[in-house]
């Protein structure tokens, strides 16, 4: 059985929980609190020198890191990563967009709001993070005005990758009512068979977010 080392409030980790839910695939989940240093221990760094979650471990101890590469491996041969070479490249294109133009702003704004103290220096970054995050949401809105999914003709791993942090973008101070096609797409994702919602975050994080947005 595969093991996922993941932190439940992380959208990058939640992506894997979503796909495993759709596939009905059994797995072991080791809760790994990256916000409190659990990925910086010598034992963890020996497996993943980049010190991040999620990390997948096979029964015989092989390691795969980077959430979107793990999605590709888990989805290979399933309906969640389909189409011809061109369509699969388009799916990957949205997944690279997610990691370069979306996550570093939308996920990081949420982290700063909910996981750093109210007097953190990092809060000065919020205006720029929100400006760039809104640019990413606008690119998604534009795509979804004419297309149903990001993974080609049907729901798949590009949708899962982008759902990871888009569905909780309000935690970072983003107003999704400005992006109606994105909100409709989030609802379509939630309607997919086997959909798994992110577990609630702690009261501490929720209180910090309430004071930040």
């Amino acid at each position: 059985m595969i093991t996922i080392h993941g932190y439940s409030p992380s959208g990058n980790c939640h992506k894997l929980r979503m796909l495993l839910g759709h596939l009905g695939r059994e797995h072991r989940w080791i809760e790994t609190d990256s916000a409190r240093g659990a990925t910086r221990t010598p034992g963890y760094l020996a497996k993943n020198p980049n010190g991040k979650v999620p990390m997948l471990e096979t029964e015989d101890g092989r390691i795969l890191v980077e959430s979107n590469a793990i999605l590709v491996w888990l989805a290979e041969g399933t309906r969640y990563f389909g189409g011809d070479a061109w369509q699969r490249a388009q799916t990957l294109s949205w997944m690279f967009f997610e990691q370069y133009s979306h996550e570093p702003y939308i996920a990081v704004a949420r982290f700063v709001c909910g996981w750093t103290p109210m007097d953190s220096e990092r809060r000065k970054d919020l205006p720029r993070l929100r400006e760039r995050g809104n640019q990413a949401l606008a690119v998604m809105q534009r795509h979804l005005e004419t297309q149903t999914w990001f993974s080609g003709d049907s729901y798949g791993i590009a949708d899962i990758a982008l759902f990871g942090y888009t569905h909780c973008a309000a935690d970072g101070g983003f107003d999704l009512s400005r992006y109606p096609a994105v909100r409709d797409w989030l609802d379509r994702v939630r309607d997919e068979p086997g959909f798994v919602a992110m577990p609630p975050i702690s009261d501490d994080n929720r209180n910090l977010i309430a004071q930040s947005c």
Copy 2:
């Protein structure tokens, strides 16, 4: 014939030139100066709403963006993207590492040094960019102490993706003599058949770099 819209001093664009060189594949290159707004024109944004280079255009007008997704599409079925599903996922893992943990520090430090005025506010970011970039180089060094390539058993698109900005990291103030295995790997890449070097950057950029490092 395919068309690449690319800016020659960009490592992200150079990746495509490298792979096309290895493949001996004919293509049209449209020089697109992203540093001077050529990706923000209405015509360009109509093709790529995210406003970045590189962009691949097919003869019948289909568009593919994100350098690493383009590498996957071009390399599909060739020796540059080989192995089984696990090995291909490892290749993608390094490509996501490159876009998330490497490029935003090493490429951006180089951009700040060579493409912004000496009094730019962005130069205040250089210490943090260099700290995070050195972390990425240390992860690469550790891998290369026991492995020859990032793409599995032989040279391929993960090596090309990481070569893009590693080979010019000194432009951002990084000292590659601290990473001997990385330097040896750069030399191995340069020895690959069909290797294409990045064209020289302009004197203006070179002068700014000389004052910055």
